[in-house]
């Protein structure tokens, strides 16, 4: 894939997918995020790096939580934020996606944060907007949700340190999950010891092993000795498309309960990108239990997004001294 994410000097210009980024860049994102975490925890809460810049949240798919974290991250960087929520049907009413982009560009923005229900949409937008605009992918169809994966990696590093020895299991609807794809790329690039996907056959995409994962159709085998368990949300539509018989059956065989967790490493952590469906993919006891780091993921989300925006707005270099 032609890598349009990096500029001619290898610095981050767009953030569209984890695929195509090297380990060093991912680690820089995690380290930069660490400095922003401290800011969030102190009274100033500001790092006005993006003062005078305008960031547009271009959400073709509705989402309150992702949009608000991006908005908060942008505001902590002192950027101006514009929220545009477009239902996809608006574009089919006549105005093409390209025309819409040109109209928004005329408002002189610097960055688009895009969420769309089509795979490849962020890549498409990045390829067709004017060269001074950077695009951050907030989720495109089934393809990738790279900022989510980075905050998940940040959380894993926070609790587990080095990736090299980790066994990670991603459980759930892998087939339709952009979060899973991004997480798989991130874990393999960061050098995780083993990445597993666990789901019934109907929810495993063909050829997924080529991404560097081991496939498990049984929860117990899939969780044995793992250090990190990532649970994915199960959407209700999957029952309608004859992919699963019922939520009840899914929870029976793939739901994360205390007893299911017993085969994992005693210090294993439990993660979930949210929002969680209690009693469908995860038991309330586990979601609220001591191994769950779900809330930590949420609070890390702002710092990680701040880091990515800051890195795009000003490329990473060695700090020079000011006279």
């Amino acid at each position: 894939m032609k890598n349009i994410q990096l500029d001619s000097q290898g610095r981050l210009k767009h953030f569209l997918s984890i695929e195509g980024l090297n380990r060093g860049l991912l680690v820089d994102i995690l380290d930069t995020a660490a400095s922003f975490v401290t800011i969030s925890e102190k009274s100033s809460k500001k790092a006005p790096l993006l003062r005078g810049k305008t960031i547009v949240n271009l959400f073709f798919e509705p989402s309150t939580r992702t949009r608000t974290t991006f908005e908060l991250a942008a505001k902590r960087l002192a950027a101006d934020v514009l929220n545009i929520n477009i239902s996809t049907s608006a574009t089919t009413k006549g105005e093409t996606l390209i025309d819409m982009l040109h109209n928004i560009e005329a408002m002189h923005c610097d960055m688009f944060v895009v969420r769309h229900d089509q795979s490849g949409a962020a890549h498409f937008i990045a390829s067709h907007t004017s060269p001074n605009i950077s695009v951050i992918n907030a989720g495109d169809g089934w393809h990738e949700h790279p900022t989510q994966a980075m905050l998940d990696m940040y959380t894993i590093r926070q609790y587990k340190g080095d990736f090299a020895k980790l066994r990670v299991a991603i459980v759930g609807d892998i087939l339709h999950s952009r979060v899973a794809r991004s997480q798989i790329h991130a874990l393999t690039t960061l050098g995780a010891s083993e990445v597993r996907v666990v789901a019934p056959k109907t929810l495993i995409p063909l050829g997924v092993e080529s991404l560097g994962v081991h496939v498990f159709n049984q929860l117990e085998e899939g969780l044995r000795d793992v250090d990190v368990v990532i649970m994915l949300r199960l959407q209700k539509e999957r029952m309608q498309s004859a992919l699963l018989p019922s939520q009840h059956e899914y929870f029976q065989f793939y739901g994360l309960t205390e007893s299911a967790l017993e085969v994992a490493h005693p210090d294993a952590i439990v993660m979930h990108p949210g929002p969680i469906n209690r009693g469908v993919e995860i038991d309330s006891h586990v979601a609220d239990g001591k191994r769950s780091v779900i809330l930590q993921q949420v609070s890390n989300g702002i710092a990680v997004r701040m880091a990515i925006m800051a890195m795009i707005a000003g490329r990473i270099t060695d700090q020079k001294e000011m006279h």
């Binding site: 400095s35 100033s44 790092a47 006005p48 060695d318 700090q319 006279h323």
Partner: protein
């Protein structure tokens, strides 16, 4: 700790200036903040010499610089630490060299994001020509007039020494 003679003399001069300006009772209320990295080294010395009671604050202006888009962001940033509430406080802001004034501008912006101080006295070891902003120190060790290619730098933390270099273009 090794401190070169010239630096020692400058520090002593600054400490005296501050003592003359502020009596012992007022000095107890002073809050000293050093700007990373050189300003912190200088502030540490002054803090000791003046026997200030409140803890030393440290400011990293990385996120407030005006040249961020040109020079970028370093992945490892030592975070700022202001351990006490600055509202209505008299602040001594310390840096090693005052040149263009942009570092101090950034520091002032950051301090005001924390609250509203009663006053700020800028204290520098050396001030030199080349101001680009209307900023002047209250207390300073010495004033230098340097040529286009000359450049003054405090190295440290141990030994702490002040040198003038010729920047070869």
């Amino acid at each position: 700790m090794v401190i070169e003679k010239n630096v020692e003399i400058l520090l002593a001069s600054i400490a005296n200036q501050i003592k003359q300006q502020y009596g012992a009772k007022t000095r107890e209320q002073l809050f000293m903040i050093g700007i990373h990295t050189g300003g912190v080294w200088v502030a540490e010395q002054l803090h000791q010499m003046l026997e200030l009671t409140s803890p030393l604050g440290k400011l990293n202006i990385a996120f407030y610089r005006d040249d961020f888009t040109r020079i970028g962001l370093h992945p490892h940033v030592q975070p700022s630490n202001l351990p006490i509430d600055i509202n209505d406080r008299k602040i001594i802001l310390v840096d090693d060299v005052l040149h263009t004034g942009r570092t101090v501008r950034a520091a002032l912006n950051e301090i005001f994001d924390y609250g509203r101080p009663a006053s700020i006295d800028l204290t520098v070891l050396v001030q030199r020509n080349g101001r680009e902003l209307p900023i002047q120190p209250t207390f300073f060790g010495c004033a230098l007039h340097l040529n286009k290619n000359e450049h003054v730098k405090l190295s440290g933390p141990d030994p702490l020494s002040l040198d003038v270099y010729n920047k070869k273009t």
